[in-house]
Amino acid sequence: MTASLSTSRVSTLPRAIIRLLLAASLLHCSTQTSYNTSNPARGPGQLLEDTDALNTLPLTTADDAIPHARMVTPPADGELPNCDGACTTFCTDLNLQNPLNRALCHSAWGVGLDTQPIHTLQACRRLHMDLWGRFPSLAEAKQNCEGNTWSQTVANLLQSDHFVRQCRAHWADQFEYNTTRVSVERIYDLDQIVERLCRGTLAYNRFAEVAASHPVLTRQHDTPGDRAEAAYRIFLGRSPFTNERSDVGRLYAPWDNDYYDSQALGQRLPDAWVRYGCIGTDEGDTGSCTSVLFGYNTVDLGTPDLRSTRESGGDRTMWSGLLSAEEWRVLQAPGRVLAAQSLFWEHQVDALLQHYMGYDLAREIPTARSELVQYLVDHHGDLRALHFAIATSAAYLQSTEGSTATDHRWTYGPLKQTPAEGWLTSLTHHAGLIQNGTHDWGSCDPRISHPEDFLDNDSTAIAYGLVEASAWTLDQEGQLQTTFSDYAKSLGGCPDNDPSGRFSTVSVLTTSTQLSIATELCDPLLDGIENHAANEILIPSGTVDNAAINPDGAVAVLEHQVARFFGRSPTDDEVTEIRLAGEECERLRCTAEEFARPLCYALLSSAEVLFY
């Protein structure tokens, strides 16, 4: 009996026996293979072809010199720029290499609008938050951003594990990882695919093909139309029109929602199954699994074989974990359909521009979108190329400070609110609570949205080990360390997608929370709060904790903390004020610690950490 034999030809008794044998052999296989708690990924990602890096960073694009504006009358506030022939010639003659700069020229320099130059350390701070998810200290900023071309700096940051972690968290948000709704093994599988995307070894269109039919997407939705809707939102940035939902939804018709039992984890895990109801049995059924709106596309898995073990609504169904590589390829039809549309590329450009700029630059300067789409395609769909082009562009490298002749949005820099986790990580990192990658307050891992489900009394040692090997932190008693995630959730980070996602807002209560965190870190009133920043973090080396503070000492503490927390040197105003504070402390006989801790609170609670 071969695997391709239709189940309709198998008599009941032999089929039952064969299923039993098959199940026994699968069980045997699963128990023979030791479970890797660091990498429990199982799914289509394991079948994905290996590829080398699509590009080498830094890309050949040179750092453009920022030009001065052409000497013409710039457009007035509210007036759209009109790049005439002379403007076009001006821009062409500049021979700008960066695609975003080329687009920007026609709306800025070419029409008489200057851009705002930025200080390297300010740019460095912004780049670190956008790529690494935290602010650098002054020492880090100097090490990472000085002495290199900006292209090399961006390339270095893009190639670090910090960027990959940020990138993976972004896609975790997009796919709303949630271990209650879909198997943790599938989430790890998609995360590994995402990692390849983030490391530049997987083209974005190829990623979309696999991800749009990945169980993490299909299992989270009930109907084919809902799955099509989710794929449209993620990859095209909009809901499908009614006809698109219906048509592309047919390519999701084979998917079914069910469960499988994981002996290793001791849990029944929600997962995707495939249903054979609409295909294979007769030609007339094929239409319910065929899309015709974007060419003829169908998902024909053939006839069910011995791997299909359940019935649902009268149809044979099979656990997606048993799909062959060829069957996975067939099921990737929705992603192929979406990736063939220009909006697919445009949406990704728009989304990244929004991420870096904090406003919709593609709407303000539509040619920015087309230039970047072409650039992305020219670089084989390597999303890192898009990050690189934007982060090295003049549009991004502008100061938020000072005034401009007009309020055209692209002529001054973006000011964004620091994301919750970035704010918390920066504070705790600079306060010395992160040592060798271990965070005293714990962390959170988007791949396991509900770690507590793996740590209850019924959990197996493997389930426990899964959490232990993740970014979540367990204390010495095996309890989950949730200080970081609790705070982050209060401020809009560490989403459990249950169902809400990330948010950022400024309100009385979030501000109170932030002030409370600064209090906890700095212990400004010397209350003996546990886990606060150590004195050696807050006081310059060579100064003892109980040294008497005078104006010079006060300035030394200020310089030390401003460098550590803000990644810069103090301004003259700050030095003047702190000298006065030092005089007051001298009269009151403050010690270095009594001065350093309130100063820590004043700095860490400031708007300078909340916005960048």
């Binding site: 809902d226 309020d407 209060s490 249950d498 807002t505 309100s507 501000t511 109170s512 409370s516 400004p524």
Partner: protein
Amino acid sequence: MPKKKSPKVPHPTPPKRVQLHSRRAFVKGMGAAAAVTAVAPTLWIPRVARADSFNTIKHLVYVRLNGGFRFTAAYNGDVASEFNPYGLASGVASGVQWGPSALLESSPWLSGDAATVQARTDLGMSTMPQIANSMAVVPCVDHEPLSGGADGNHGTGLERYYTGYAGGGTSFLTMINYALRDRVATGSNVSSDALPAFSLGSSGMALGAGIYAAYRPAVIEGTNFSRFRTSASSGLPDWATQFAGATDARMRDRQHTTHQPTVDNYIQSRAASARFDAIFGDPILNIDDTSETPIDGLTQSQLQTLLGNSGAGRRARLALRLFHFGCPAVYFGEGGYDMHSNEENNLPSSMEGPNQLLCGLNAALRAMAHPDGGTYWDHTLVVLGSEFGRTGRGNRFNSARGTDHNSDNATRWMSMPFMGGAVQNNGQGGKMFGRTRPSDLAAEGTVYSYRTIMKTLMHMLGGDHDDFFPADNPTDILVDGA
């Protein structure tokens, strides 16, 4: 420990009800008293026909039984064994219609250490069957009463629970804050000292965009409200306070003019947060305070005696203290009921959680004097829900002795309990509003949508809910049973 004087928080004055006509009289006049099997979408006519339940409560405890809960096995138990394999409870108070199941008998708090049991008994704590007549149950609350089946999907089911719709953008607690925007300190209301609604654990209850963004409730993870304190602000040396202010101001002033309001918003928020320092630092919100000074009639340790120290118990204790400061609603989750396997063994012991929560709240609310007169029981409603029910797929349990969730009736109906003075004092305790056929759970009475329930609760809180769910009417069954 000396008792710290708590800030005087004027309890929000309930709005005067606008009642041009009695909706009931209007409906009766139209002769439209015929029973329906589902609440079809109708047009809610703002401010013309308020139901009698308007402004009947001041506080809401809204609890989610996490993960999807097998409601028929607890609060609608008089059904076939495939829907309630645990049987019915004994010793149920008289006049109870809604079929308390045997799972509600679990009352470990009344056994064990004699002194603790005595303390609980002295505080008025009893068992679920005994207090079953103080709550009403709506057996058929549905996501979409006009749809063909249940939404058994965790994601969308929960979205509906939080927002009323799959993909909804505004959570129920955000709606409450908006509905009560004239009374609580939220949005642009800087004159009120009454705390807004709080979500104790889930940001899913804090969604809101556009004009509703400013009304999102605070989300507090963990159970220690003392983490919220900002005591440093008031104790800092003057130079540090001035330096902090100057640092913010300098940051604002050097920005491009279009960015300055962004930073200024934080500066103002920081100034406003100082107003709440006294509240956030008040020992009343420190539920672990061991002081023997009663607050509204009960000490913190007495509350712990009643509600325990579990996550939900601690959140419930904090909720009651937040109510002291005018907070209208608190949301939190309880337990984890996504028991696809081994529910048969695990659910009975897990039911200790919601059982103690309801019994503890029942006793605590009755024992606590409300600042506006009467007891908290008179002014508070406790409501339990979940994202969906659970099914044994036609059997008592699935193949793993657990339950799943799909499109069937067992998944579909959330049989929600409503407990509080507004129900019992109005003679509705023990009643069931709607009915299911025991053999197949087909609805034999009115089916209510989650949106109707939310609208009703906002209505009972006396809020302006005109903006929300215009096709769903609030109902006043909980206070008049009609």
